[in-house]
Symmetry: C2
Subunit: 238 residues, 2 copies
DNA sequence: CCTTGTGAATATGTTCACAGCA
DNA sequence: TGCTGTGAACATATTCACAAGG
């Protein structure tokens, strides 16, 4: 049975219905989080001309066990063939469909600093399902300035633009102090998913999802495991 | 007992010794990963003038349970007072010491594209324990060009610079195709921790740690939970 | 042979609930 | 009272190991 079809388990433990209503809550979020990594790696293999792979090969490339990959995929259907492995092209399309990245999502971005510019000019969004359709900034001096193909709009136009595009995804690239208020505006306008580059934790309603990118958090995670060899006599202020 | 002191558990289940030798393997990595978030939030409270907090307040700010915060901290010592909570200033210094970010770490960056420039110019590293001390790029046309206070050096000078600074941390901001070979050069030069912005998985020796930042991975994680409202007729190519 | 898909076993992580202390 | 620190209970995640199929 393929993922997305109607299914009823006889013993009454669970029911799957179309439209990801019950399913979403049954598949562990941590599994969903690995699918994009599988997809990225499979896409790379496909571009290299490879047609088939195995859970073993994929696991070796990713540094995880083959059993984990098989179990993760088994939540959504039976995509492989015993003795052979997985057809890469087929598995890619299946994963794209599951993740709903088999189409183009409009994304709005708030904050036209260095990083905001870098993200708008990043070529890697388009071929993986995302297009930045608007850039906002609160600084009046920046309004109308070009950023890649776009021009900077005032944050007051967020509701209109988000509604016009039916945009559910936003990227926040503003200072930590402004992030919560910007998030409030976006959510008010209808945004349901936020990728937050501001070094802070946002408070949002239950139906809104936030993912965070703070490189310092990840660097500080790594230093725990390093030998102390700091620059002489220089202390951090945090 | 404070973290870092010698400790022996009588029943023979575990021994803690100075210098994070056995300890490092005993404290779950997922706990270490949350400490920087606690530190960031506590620092924010401190800057707001607050002197004391509780696991409850911190948990509310972060959207996690107070029990988890208490258990996480309990791996390293007893930092709180019953009935009162935690002194923010004290807890910050303890966390900085545990994470070894009570000093300044030199970091080298490879890849002087838009994102590389944005990172070099990012003001948020310095006060949280990190300083980018060199920028490398393989494009001969870019050599000698300024990036913030630095100038772009050829990748051939990586061994010398990494050795001079005893630098253990690198940030990779190059295209996915070049990331593995750049990682090899850095590891050869002595780097032990890599923050990888390239959308690929690196293969590294066991004693090298890699953390990844790929915004598309996080966006694709979020789309699973969204309603399908894509831009008309536009399919992604991944 | 090879590889998948999966129940069972194991390992890991989180929460509960309360003793103990300010 | 209010809050910490923690063992015990619970929940979640990963790996093992093997039947079954090409």
């Amino acid at each position: 049975m393929a993922y997305g079809e109607t299914m009823t388990i006889q013993n009454g433990v669970a029911e799957h219905e179309q439209g990801n209503e019950i399913q979403d809550t049954m598949i562990p979020d941590i599994v969903i989080g690995r699918l994009p990594v599988y997809l990225r790696t499979l896409t790379m293999l496909m571009h290299q001309g490879q047609e088939v792979t195995s859970s073993q090969e994929l696991g070796d490339l990713l540094g995880i066990s083959s059993a984990q990959i098989r179990k993760d995929l088994s939540h959504f259907g039976e995509f492989g063939k015993q003795g052979t492995g997985y057809n890469i092209d087929f598995l890619c399309s299946q994963l794209q469909e599951i993740l709903k990245v088999d189409c183009m999502w409009p994304v709005v971005l708030v904050g036209a600093g260095y990083l905001g510019h870098a993200l708008v000019n990043y070529a890697g969004f388009e071929n993986r399902g995302f297009r930045i359709v608007a850039v906002f900034d609160s600084n009046p001096d920046k309004l109308g300035q070009p950023v890649g193909q776009l021009t900077i709009s005032p944050v007051s136009t967020i509701p209109q633009v988000v509604a016009d595009y039916r945009c559910q995804i936003a990227i926040i690239v503003v200072p930590a102090e402004s992030a919560q208020s910007v998030a409030g505006m976006l959510i008010e306008a209808g945004v349901k998913s936020i990728l937050c580059y501001a070094p802070t934790t946002l408070t949002v309603p239950k139906d809104v999802r936030v993912e965070y990118i703070d490189p310092v958090i990840q660097l500080q995670h790594m230093t725990f495991y390093l030998e102390r060899h700091c620059l002489d006599g220089e202390a951090a202020a945090e």
